[in-house]
């Protein structure tokens, strides 16, 4: 009766708390050979907000690069069919500590072309080296702005034309905004996460590779719309699907 119902609730609640607290310490043993993937599409529901055109007359070099093809803000980039580009997807729950800390060997590249960042959002793992390059014949400075109390320390380096790439890495997960002080319209992101990740393309499609079988929570992050999560279960060697829809404001 009342007694039993309360005991049941307490048990469920205690389990939830334990799962929530202990998820990071439960270890999964996974075999690499049976790795699957998580794939899906991220869409925007509703009318995409208008992305303002960028006026670059302060720097004739930038202006010239966009003489026939004006640049626009890239906070919300929606492709044909409503797909949201530049959304970062990563696994926020369910991976073991060793899986979380594995660092891929590839070096993601952040370029400055036509006085815009390419790609607009660069995803990477904690500790993974990345490169910042410049393809522009005008000087930039590369100035990421993490919150120093997270453990990621801001820095600010110049990149004049022809400069060598800047090679760096980050210490903790954080969505770090990047700007150029010389060109105030330039805005980009370093999405620092742990574990496998992927970024949506112009159709809003993504695939997270190298996911061991198991149950996970996938998080999608978009700079304007924030985060959404979904639970998926990945079977050995198979692809699980997680689609997301963000609502336009």
């Amino acid at each position: 009766m009342k007694h039993q119902r309360n005991r049941g609730w307490a048990a469920i609640l205690a389990t939830l708390v334990l799962v929530g607290l202990g998820s990071l310490s439960i270890s999964h043993k996974a075999s690499a050979a049976a790795e699957g993937k998580i794939t899906g599409t991220v869409k925007l529901d509703g009318t995409a907000p208008h992305m303002k055109g960028i006026e670059m007359s302060k720097d004739p070099v930038c202006d010239k690069a966009h003489a026939n093809n004006p640049a626009h803000s890239e906070n919300v980039v929606v492709g044909k069919g409503g797909g949201l580009e530049n959304v970062v997807l990563y696994i926020s729950e369910g991976l073991s500590a060793s899986e979380l800390n594995a660092k891929p060997t590839q070096v993601p590249i952040f370029d400055q072309k036509g006085c815009m960042y390419t790609p607009h959002v660069l995803a990477m793992d904690v500790g993974q080296e990345f490169k910042v390059e410049t393809s522009d014949p005008t000087a930039h400075n590369i100035h990421p702005e993490p919150n120093p109390l997270t453990g990621n320390i801001p820095w600010n380096q110049s990149q004049p034309p022809g400069a060598a790439p800047v090679v760096k890495s980050w210490k903790t997960p954080e969505m770090i905004h990047v700007k150029c002080n010389i060109h105030p319209w330039m805005s980009g992101w370093f999405a620092v996460v742990k574990g496998p990740y992927a970024t949506t393309d112009e159709n809003g499609s993504y695939t997270i590779q190298n996911v061991p079988p198991g149950s996970y929570t996938v998080t999608a992050w978009q700079e304007t719309y924030g985060t959404q999560t979904q639970k998926v279960t990945v079977a050995a060697g198979a692809a699980a699907t997680a689609d997301f829809t963000f609502k336009a404001k």
């Binding site: 000087a139 919150n147 109390l149 997270t150 010389i182």
Partner: protein, 292 residues
Amino acid sequence: MHRNLLKWSLLLSAVVALCLSAASYAQLTTYQQQEWLHSPAASSHIGNITGAAPAAAMPYRRYCVGCHGPLGDGNGENAQWINPKPRDFQLAIFKCRSTPTGTLPTDQDLYDSIGRGLDRSNMPSWDALTKQERADLVAWIKHFSPRWQNEKAGTPIQIPAEPEITPDRVKTGQEVFRKMECWKCHGVQGMANGPSSSTLTDDLGRPISPFNFTDGSRPLCGSTDQDIYKIFMTGLDGTPMPSFADNIKPEEAWDLVFYLRSLQPHNAYNAKEREIANQLGLKPVNPNAPAQ
């Protein structure tokens, strides 16, 4: 009893959820700072003087708290009327360093900033305080932020000996000024009127002006040639001024220092550079000239 267990479980899980989400952006509390007050990191070594943070509690309250605030976050009662804003010691991002961008300054850097003050700001020169008091205040500054517990200060950059000032060097310095595009912010005459100067903001989004070489102001982090060298070779962290350490060779850096001196009005440091600039008939750089 089970009803209570239910209530407490709900409360606990709510608390846990809040903690997990808020962990990285919590405002530091005096409780946390009290723990660091007696840590080894909250001490300083400047020359043969050792500073200890607890000894600086009263001097900080007497001299500093009105601007920097009791939590050291730059929110003293007067901060709202001051521009530039007082430094937030919790973030531990400092402009005047001898260490590379993104690293902590040395004790000597902080000690020098306290003693020298920052020109054109409300940070006075505190050289009326004894060396011991200033050393203790450096240690006190270090108890405000977790960064001093977790990171070591950066390694000071190597500054080669200052060469003789020659016309060739001043000319090379101007070429560096043009190539690095310093004029984008500082203007071709150094008057802080470059094309990007009006849209500059600091790390907290507040408008900020570049240094004006021509109005007689003293450079922010000291008046000597070495101090100017350090500014562009380490960057002023927290501001738009980047580090050029990866793009300017140390020899060329001295050339740039000499050229920058020639932009300043006559002062105690730049007689030779101004004379040379005059003799050479140096004109401001032409930003529209094709890149070499």
